[in-house]
Subunit: 331 residues, 4 copies
């Protein structure tokens, strides 16, 4: 098979850089162009220092974009929708990493979580990558909400997130002396990702996801702790069965729940650089609460990795192609 | 006033060391003895290196303990209750930092949160210091549960904690390469502190606190995020009033909720070394959920600091004596 | 004694904030004004959140500065020298924390390391606080260079520094995802502090200090590792004697060198919030090299703390007044 | 070509786990056995949680080891030499990761840095992997010492290292509250790796390497700062030429020295998971000092990665096989 020609619009940010790293090592892909207004003409390794000696690519001007098989858009939220008009003729297939096309399947975009939308993706020309926190939350709760065993109005989700979620724009909040050691409730209520989560988990019902986000001192990673009140009595064994049924064949989902050892439940640090979503759970013996713990790397399964997974599905490739990195330990 | 003679039983651990630091600088206190089986005869600065050049005290054998005005017990959980018999004749006043006497006001111990039990403490001879996570949670929720405006069965509390909570006993889980960068759900359900929390917040009602604890990469600090479902409609202004009424005169409670700046809500790093409990909140505009955020230093307001606050109250001293350190920024 | 009236020019930065914290708790000082162009009219706790509930001070306009006993200047390097003209009539005594008056005892400023210049400080009206890296280095090497036992041309000093050294101005380099985990040689040669170090250590000889600075992932702290080639054979005992002679009576210098335990040599984290400079050393058994290890908190002994120490000396106060905080463990 | 059958003796430690990760993804290798006394019979992912769902291997008893093409030994220092007798008949080729065979080319082992010993490795049956700190230091200094432009008696090397260097044995020093935030001079003089460094850099001359090691708060990584006094005047351009001559064709060495951007010099965090050694330098304009900065991942180029590189060379494979991971940014 001829290699797919692929370009990245807006490739100087963190998600764009991660995508570029993955695509450069993807055996079925040829990276054509990576655009950046700000860094036009500069070598890409100037802003992505991990790519030194890996590639001699330089950033192109967005206006010089040429046709290609697949176009990835990594623009700031709000810019993609404006930009779509300009690029729609350049590539048959578009994968957008912004928040612009996630809701209401706007403009024909499939919501980009393969575990929920694989069949739609296979024939799709447009995929909208899911939000990182949304991905961690949706994958944790999907088997429960699909089966209707969760109190629809009382699920509480607390995500702990790293600083790369905020992108590479500097601010007082991201200044190291202020951000280091922080345990910062930056979004106790009203997080933008709630809408995506509700969209994917409602299954025609009226539901509420009570979502809060706390920034902690790490760079990559999301840990979502979801507190679900079960509407029917389920043993841990039955819950296992439910998750196994939903995810037993999934290449990037692991159920992590061991009785011994240090790593009894998912931990984002083990997933740095990988496309896994690890999910574990514990049923409260004293109440109807089920705690579901899920972890991802926000730049991988939460952004670039999941986008490459979508590319693989859209083109009939093995879903794990270019996404085999298993993660490191210790780290 | 003559200085109070004070000794510490079990002074080689983290809480004992913190207590010793505070007492050495307390103007109304004379530290007499600090016991340790393991380090008997050794200078205390051998295990508490921050006390170098501050004191020449050495650890005493527990069996050599002499009478004093106030005895602090910093023994491992489970040991204090056995030990009480041996020391009850040595000191009129005993402040215990273990979990042994917190429940059911056993053996005449007052539960050690001054904001809830100040009057009882004034005449008390025995105080049992509250658990660190319990302190952060109880202080966050007390005004709401006292007034009965929280759904009694549906409060979810997620605490993020540092590694010093585990004490100074080494383990695989505390080995730096494993613990560094961790976001570890070490106690999704079943945490021991739940009983204390329920005891203090029930006010005769049947309540449930759905509590989970996640270890993150910090040494000191607790951030508790409490998700409360209000049973009556309250504006943020009314909630402010409620907290002001409960804590307006409290020297160690600050309501932290600002519209601008980086530090809009409580953050444990700002409290390192202080006895403050900072509390903030945000009402979800889209639902009946109130998110309450509270932060403490687990070794201070969560252990040694709160114990010194109790000592001050028991002896009619200004409550803030020896606890004036305001915390550092940046840190 | 009446309290000294004290004001701070340029009080919105990290050194200014630390100074304000110290002065607010100093028993012989009354803080009058704290100026800031940018935050004029705003409460100081807006930028120094550790001072919440501690003070109701607001920032003044620099032009509204009124006369006081002591003026601290915490302006950016380069601004102090321009500003001096405007404020010289306002206060008899001026302590400047910038780099502007450190060299050549310009404008009558005494170089602000008390361990070297205490007698001059006693009668001085102007003190120029020393650089943080310079302080750690000079205090480590002073006894050796004074006695002339170090090869004057071959001393290598490697400092490891935290992010607060860079102040509170944001930049790409201080953006958390970039700065976190960094081990960054930001100044392998040519560091500005070298001139101060040479000035203080030369004692009329021609000397060279080969200085490099590496930024590591911490907020506060400097660890200087100095490699000295001895020109005469000295046992560790003789080196001890040399340091004891120089610093035996110093309240803020501790010789830290123990054979057991974890903390055998100085560590900056134990000094967070303190005015100590801890110094240790190890003689290489196989060569003429002596390794001297020194640690400080860059915002304390490296800036605000040392400035308060100078204030105490200039006014005949006990040198440790307001500087008693012993540091925390664990931290 | 048939796959090489490979086993690992002592595979439960950090280096063993990293080696296993690399070998499981190596296209020319089949992992046969991984031994561990302590974990015999347990799945390898029990101690290497990053290998969950990657392999179903379980640990074998050392006594059950069967013949294979290549045997990697990852035993504690001191054990390998005893063990060699037992395993020498099992495999024609042995790669040892301990310190036991590094000096004096004992027992026919080639010192395992390919950039210095590639030709010897090609025909070798035994390779002894180099120490991590030694690797970073030797690669930084080799072009200078080979050409004889460095003062042989006055080179000072300061390495900053992470906690994984200490392996997975727990201790008080590695207890998170003690190790977190540490800047710890754990080996100011007398480090074991000095002998290897001297062996590789002496080229028949008498030389001294003044080496100190400081532990900092990271898990993986070494940054070596080497201060070299040049014996002849060299411009930065000439130094470039010297390094390019030595390493221009090397697949795993990158000269990192850029005038702009944040990452002007090598940084270990960019190398996490990679086999690169990045090297940069800065000539002091005011003296004869050259500062050379080198970075590696201690478990990769400093252990497992370099061992796989040796395996590739010994078997005529492309040297980068299985070592293509480029590292992550941000991290």
């Amino acid at each position: 098979m001829a290699k797919l020609s692929v370009s990245i619009v807006g490739g100087s940010g963190y998600a764009g850089g991660e995508l570029l790293r993955l695509l450069l090592f993807h055996p079925n892909v040829q990276v054509m162009q990576v655009t950046s207004e700000r860094f036009e003409g500069k070598p890409v390794d100037r802003v992505h220092p991990n790519l030194r000696k890996i590639t001699r690519l330089t950033f192109s001007k967005p206006s010089e974009l040429t046709p290609c098989d697949v176009l990835f858009m990594c623009l700031p939220h709000g810019s993609s929708s404006n930009y779509l008009e300009q690029v729609r003729s350049l590539a048959k297939k578009i994968i957008d990493l912004s928040a612009d096309f996630r809701l209401d399947k706007k403009q024909g975009f499939v919501y980009g979580i393969p575990e929920l939308h694989r069949e739609e993706m296979k024939g799709a020309n447009r995929v909208s990558s899911a939000g990182c926190n949304a991905t961690a939350t949706i994958l944790a709760l999907y088997p429960l909400f699909k089966r209707g065993v969760a109190d629809p109005m009382r699920t509480v989700v607390e995500v702990k997130v790293g600083s790369s979620e905020g992108g590479n724009s500097i601010s007082e909040a991201s200044h190291h002396p202020e951000r280091s050691g922080a345990v910062r409730s930056f979004m106790p209520t009203g997080h933008r990702h709630i809408l995506e989560i509700v969209q994917e988990l409602s299954f025609g019902r009226d539901i509420q996801i009570h979502f809060s986000a706390t920034a902690i001192d790490m760079v990559r990673g999301v840990l979502a702790t979801s507190h679900v009140f079960l509407t029917e009595e389920l043993s841990e064994k039955e819950i296992w069965a439910l998750y196994r049924e939903a995810y037993g064949e999934e290449p990037f989902i692991r159920i992590v729940k061991t009785s011994g050892g240090i790593y009894r439940y998912p931990e984002p640090k083990l997933l740095i650089g990988t496309n896994y979503c690890d999910i574990g759970f514990e049923k409260d013996e004293k109440s109807d609460r089920l705690v579901v713990i899920s972890a991802i790397d926000n730049l991988m399964k939460g952004a670039a990795g999941q986008a490459v997974q979508a590319l693989n599905i859209m083109h009939g490739l093995d879903e794990t192609t270019g996404l085999e990195f298993p993660g490191l330990h210790p780290i």
